[in-house]
Symmetry: C2
Subunit: 397 residues, 2 copies
């Protein structure tokens, strides 16, 4: 028996101990429908208003803005669309570069590419798994060139238009540090809060930490609308533009079809918003459950010599969307054995995303040195994190 | 009393006569939920599978392909997304030109623009409201230049990559004529069947008249999924590529995130597909109802000196998605008076889209002479077309 196999077995045993032996396969993250989902969706169908406008879209937009502590919310078809439109509204266009972590879901980069802009990858810090303001600043000082009130990449000649912090697994990025660097270099900040609904940075909700933010309500998120996303902001002009662009940029008129920009068909259907309104009403319960589950993970592996459970950064309160085991550097080689053992034992486990700059499609994108990214990407394992798993905690096998 | 006012009043009276005096406002097109919508959507929520995969997506894809007489269907988030991905899969890329009617919904042009390609507007024929193969051929002979197996626009230097026929209001384009011209000039054909689900051209369903087609299930269409669309094709390679690109181009793997193209988050949620499965089961009923309603319109205005109701082209069977009054040229000036009268009388009426080349956003796009487009765009009025209006026919006021 190798050490790798022993470690994998130990992890499995600890999970079995506090989650109970699984009946069937335990997914990484399942949605929970314990509120008015069926009632509101049925009401939506009976109203006839299932599509692009309706009272549930309006309610969802109001409710989601409240959760993010912003004045405005615009419901859209998914998180990728929310990012794409947010970037465009903040002035990102073809030929610009957008700074972002390499350790993020593909959507952050694809939304940029769809605008004809280019992802530019920067390093992260281990504490948050998000962009390191210090590394960002050092990189900008090295490759940035100030001209006409903007900063340009002196190696590619392209404008560095914006930076997109992504709150990985719900753990907030060091936004004070990041916003300070962005202000110093004249970068727009677009907050990718797709994974961080309900997380707090200090006492401020994620989604409200930059001029504009993108959210996701895909089926694997803490709340779901089936598929969906939102743009949240305090700025009325940005909110109006977001609504306009996501609804084909049609000018209001009793009957005429006049579109004044090349817009998108990105509105969230009322049917999906009805599900979302019911889901949002349960957010506090979900957050409490996920906090309790994370606590159980933290305790189960407290003092473990080969790994630690990722804890929320100091000064922040994570929604603990996905729990993550971070292997110690000496145990990194065991990752795939652990993945195979856990998945084979009915407990879904997966590594973090492959760093985007390692994919052939983004191999040519500009990037900083990424030592922390490459180190951590090989050592992270996500483990089952559905809120309902707290039920197992009360009744251990 | 002007002639315009008299004509408007006459139209209103005829509509009142056969539709009954409206209780409240009669929309242009309302969805109908008379099947298993509530049951299937509730089942979907209870299953937990509301999002990006699920049995309703699979069933919807099978069912929609059957309706279109194709081997494969790929469910997506809306008709614009279906068009964008279809164009890309057929080889349209940045800097290409895509031939299309100017008289179409903005989605046809926007999907092209989102790919970095350029719409190129061509004229239509009065009989179908769709692209005129004859006018297309004459235009290509005038501006086209053959090179390296492709045809180029000699005025812009750009490649003419594809042509997108759109079946306006459900009336099929002359596809035999169009396909012949496309073959002669080496153009790919992408069928925009967004409005034509259930229409037949000869005995072949729309959606199956070109190598690939895009459909829409927006709330105003003959069937709805809230928001949604589909790509249909007989070609397995195209179908697989469509599924891959619309699901973030992630390669199959037990846990790794490897994306091999810059894809899209364009999948239809299972929740919306559940609604769609229930809706598709009622398609034959809807088609029969809409045919009966169209017949009532045709009879009500038979022999009218100032207008005719648009009838399906010879050899085709329209789904009669939207009924259209076509004013005689001498009565064109009455259009806005008629629109005001009908809307004021509780009957929603609207003109056809403003021809896209007349919008500032597409004013600089290349185009053919568009005499038929400009003539007809000023003379068309859409009138209430919901399937349930046949109920009023049986019990006139």
């Amino acid at each position: 028996m190798t050490n790798q196999t022993a470690l994998a077995g130990d992890i499995k045993d600890r999970l079995y101990h506090f989650l109970g032996a699984p009946e069937g396969f335990v997914p990484l993250h399942e949605p929970e429908f314990r509120g008015e989902e069926e009632a509101l969706v049925t009401d939506c169908i009976r109203s006839g208003w299932v599509s692009s406008v309706g009272q549930y879209v309006d309610r969802f937009e109001t409710d989601i803005a409240k959760v993010c502590g912003t004045r405005y919310g615009v419901a859209v078809v998914n998180g990728t669309a929310a990012l794409e439109v947010s970037l465009r509204i903040m002035g990102v266009g073809p030929g610009d570069e957008v700074l972002m972590p390499s350790l993020t879901f593909i959507a952050t980069a694809n939304a940029t590419s769809h605008l004809g802009a280019v992802p530019h990858f920067v390093d992260i810090e281990e504490r948050t798994l998000g962009i390191s303001p210090k590394a960002l600043k050092a990189h900008l000082e090295k490759i940035g060139e100030r001209r006409d009130g903007s900063v340009y990449n002196r190696e590619t000649g392209r404008r560095l238009a914006a930076v997109v912090p992504m709150h990985v697994f719900g753990h907030p990025v060091d936004m004070n540090g990041l916003n300070a660097v962005a202000a110093e270099f004249g970068l727009q900040v677009i907050e990718d809060a797709a994974e961080a609904l309900g997380s707090l940075y200090g006492d401020k909700p994620c989604g409200g930490l930059a001029p504009i933010a993108a959210l996701s309500f895909n089926g694997n998120k803490i709340l779901t609308t089936g598929g969906g996303g939102a743009i949240v902001t305090n700025d009325e002009t940005l909110a109006r533009r977001a609504k306009h662009l996501t609804t084909t940029a049609k000018q209001p008129h009793a009957w005429a079809f006049r579109h004044d920009e090349i817009g998108y068909n990105y509105r969230m259907p009322n049917l999906n918003a009805a599900l979302g309104v019911a889901q949002l009403a349960q957010l506090d319960t979900r957050l409490a459950q996920k906090r309790q589950l994370a606590q159980a993970y933290l305790e189960a592996f407290s003092g473990h010599p080969d790994l630690q459970v990722l804890a929320e950064p100091e000064g922040a309160r994570s929604n603990y969307w996905l729990n993550a085991l971070v292997l110690a550097p000496h145990a990194a080689a065991a990752r795939d054995t652990i993945l195979e053992t856990l998945n084979g034992a009915g407990l879904m486990a997966r590594p973090v995303w492959e760093p985007l700059h390692t994919l052939p499609i983004y191999a040519d994108a500009p990037r900083a040195d990424l030592p922390v990214t490459m180190d951590l990407a090989a050592r992270i394992i996500n483990v089952p994190s559905s809120a309902h798993l707290v039920g197992a905690l009360a009744c251990p096998a």
